[in-house]
Symmetry: C2
Subunit: 135 residues, 2 copies
DNA sequence: ATACATGCAAACATTTTGCTTTGGC
DNA sequence: GCCAAAGCAAAATGTTTGCATGTAT
């Protein structure tokens, strides 16, 4: 993957390697602050991580998720994988929806009928998780 | 509608009336800054609008949308209406998806099978709008 | 050698809160 | 008169940028 990025003008720096390693491990959404706490990134400046994330976003390797309004989440893009999210409005927890997503057809429909390009989507379900509902 | 809110402990203040009037007019998503520019709200303090929005959110009359990651949008809830959004990554424009949404069944499925309560969802399609694609 | 990446610090944009005054009930 | 809402100003939070230094190519 690093090789692929080098084709795109990236340098093989310690920061890039550490960041990709951390993000690929579970390919979950992370905030900038969470990334800076991950093993291998603890010593790195958040500004550095931020700039790497922006570059990876530009080439489509990272996707930005607006899950909460207060912090931005970032997730590594794994080809063939799609994610939808379940967010608890009480505890703020984020998990993935254990149900297949069927919006690909809608996406293609919009591109074809209305002339949009490069569509992708973000789907979040908000509510109260079982644990919070119990208490 | 004001009457309904009074049952919930709201006072019939000028701010509340002006805010509801502005938000109901087109029932579109607005940022706090945009709300403060709307007719009838120009003279009101943003903190006042903010606190009203929070109270309305608490009772389910307003929904928060995390469309961009940098600013939060708020939209009045109109029973029976549901909205999905098309967001241009180039110009930042927000429009509504002119296609019916079929996620209600998924929602019920998640509540039933996994024990979540009070689910609703937010769906955004991101891409490049026809106008930006042309230039 | 050169250009890009990094670290540190500061600038920015928004959201959120404290406190005093005003106004609804 | 009492308690909540409004207005003003400041604090808090998270994102983004400037600049000097280090490093990959």
């Amino acid at each position: 993957m690093i090789e692929e990025l080098r084709q795109l003008g990236f340098r093989r720096t310690g920061g890039l390697v550490d960041l990709l390693t951390a993000m690929v491990r579970h390919h979950l959404p992370y905030t900038l602050a969470e990334l800076a706490e991950l093993p291998g990134l603890k010593e790195r400046d958040q500004a550095t991580i931020y700039r790497l994330i922006m570059k990876l976003k530009d080439v489509g390797k990272v996707r930005q998720l607006n899950l909460t309004g207060r912090v931005i989440h970032y997730q590594i893009v794994v080809p063939g994988h799609h994610h939808d999210y379940l967010i608890c409005e009480t505890c703020g927890g984020v998990s993935e929806v254990p149900v297949a997503c069927t919006l690909g057809t809608v996406e293609r429909q919009i591109m074809k009928r209305f002339g949009w390009k490069g569509l992708h989507h973000e789907l979040e379900f908000y509510g109260v998780c079982p644990a919070c509902a119990a208490s």
